[in-house]
Structures are given as C-alpha cells and as structure tokens.
Amino acid sequence: MNNDTWEIGGKTLKSRLLIGSALYPSPANMEEAIKESEAQIVTVALRRQSAGEGGGNNFWNIIKALNIHVLPNTAGCHSAKEAITTAQMAREVFDTNWIKLEVIGDQYNLQPDPFETVKAAEILIKDGFEVFPYTTDDLVVAKRLADVGCKIIMPWGSMIGSGKGLMNPDNLTAIRKQFPDLKLIVDAGIGKPSHATQAMELGYDGVLLNSAIALAQDPVKMANAFKYAVEAGRLGHESGVMQERAFASPSTPTIGTPFWHQFS
C-alpha cells in the first residue's frame, strides 16, 4: 500500500479519491460504499426540503457519522449569483468553507459555464471560501481560475454521469504541465477504474466521481476497485512511466537463444 499523504484545502489526506453521495441503491449501500472506498472527502448538496419531510436528517446523520470531510456542491446553479448564494448557505449548514463550485452553462451536456464560474470563484475566494471549481479541460479557463486565486482546479474527464472516461487526455496533460503547483482533480465522466488510473498517471492529484461507483451493479465492490485504481495510478505516476518506443524490443535475453533460432 502507498503511505504517502497530500494536502488539499488545508487538510492532510491519505486518500486521493473524492466520492459522491448520490444515486446509490439505498442509504445503507451508500454508507458501505463510502467506507469501502476509504475516501476522506465526500460531496453533498443542498435542496429544498419542506416542513415535515425530515428525510434529509437520516442522510445527514449518516454522512456526519462517517467522520470524513464534507465538500458541498452548487449543483444545479446556472449563474454566479445562484452559486454564491448556495455556497453561503452550504457554509452555514455544513460548517465548512469548502465549496465545489458548479455553474452549469448548458443543460444538454451539463457543461460548466466558464464565465460565470470564474466570476463566482473570484467573489467566493474574497469571501473566504476554498473553491473547488468544476470546469472543462480548457487551459485558458484554468488559467483564469488560477488568476482569481483558485488553488484547486477540477477539469472534467467527460460529461457528468457519462462514464466515458477521459475525452481529451492531451488537454488534461497541458493543464497539469502549466500548473504544477495547483491541486488538480479530474471531476466527472469517470466510468471505469481504469479511467481513474489514467487520470492519476497523468499526474493529477486526485479523482472525484460518483456515478461510476453508485451505478455499478455492486457499488461496494466497485468502491474497493476505485480505491486501488486511484492508488495504482498514483504509484505509476510517481514511479516514472517508461518511454514509448516505435519498435519492438524483446524483454527476454537474446544471448543463449536455443537451437531452433538457427533454422528460421
């Protein structure tokens, strides 16, 4: 097992897997999957809840009992104003200055709105938030987010909930190379453990996912798979991947090759 730690948002963590809390078959299954993943950050949300419903109490009690860091999101917001209000409400409810900033610009592919995201990030950072902005894999948008003070950037792998994996690894690599000191998390689009491994091999600091675990046939087992996938990718990155070659090169020694070689 890898024993390294890393820092994000002022916290020292061991796990580089950030896990969502939605879409599980049951609250009990969610709880078990989150535990199995060994993730130390779980994403949550805020929604309208009428008097007497009280259903959120059960969910929130489960999350609190996990005793891990909570990352509230602004999912469903379509403007900087909406996202800022939601972030302020989340700070009070969840007692954290962390916010996963999501400002959606298109309802079809749930692509983040870069203009509103940057605007909201700037205001929230000035208001004391630690902003985890969900963005596309656009290098210039990442630059603008860094310019307004984001220490963390979360480019998508592909569309939210699509499970398509990393659509554009070259763009993700460019962001990594340009911002070696920022914390970079691939957020959204992960479908298989190998996608998470790939993101980590690119040098990303972590992976945030939800559907890939929650919608698996066995979410608990898949949570375990992702735990190892993220760790394998990180170890692979740290180990230094071999250079690709355009030709074959035998790994078995050629000296002492037995007799059949002379008849070929």
Partner: protein, 67 residues
C-alpha cells in the same frame, strides 16, 4: 395574513413574522438548514431581525445527496 412563496409553494403566514417565527410556524423539523429570502442568503444570526414581507420568495435548503 400575507402570501409568500416557501420552497416554491404559495403559503399564507401571519404578517410581521421574522424568520425564526416563520420556521416555528412551519413546524420545520430538519436539523440543519439554511435560508435565502428573495435569492439572498440570510445567516442564522440575522433571523430575528429579518421580517418576512408580502410577496417574498423564501428558500429553505437542507442537506441531500450530491455528486
């Protein structure tokens, strides 16, 4: 009585209530929640001073699952 929108539903409440009194009147049982009036966040420290007016839009948000 005044008419206000609470979480998207039009409701009639007494005139002159502040947010704390409105929450009590609604029998709101959620443990952790936050309030916005007319899309602006109102912190818990300001509940007593914030009077609900006719036509206000109030959102009461509570924790749910999220990705």
């Amino acid at each position: 009585m005044i008419k206000v929108s609470i979480n998207g539903e039009i409701k009639e409440i007494k005139q002159g209530l502040n947010i704390s009194q409105m929450i009590d009147a609604l029998n709101y049982t959620q443990q952790g929640f936050a309030v916005a009036v007319n899309t602006t966040f109102v912190s818990i420290k300001s509940y007593e001073q914030t009077i609900i007016n006719d036509g206000d839009t109030i959102d009461i948000l509570a924790p749910v699952q999220g990705g």
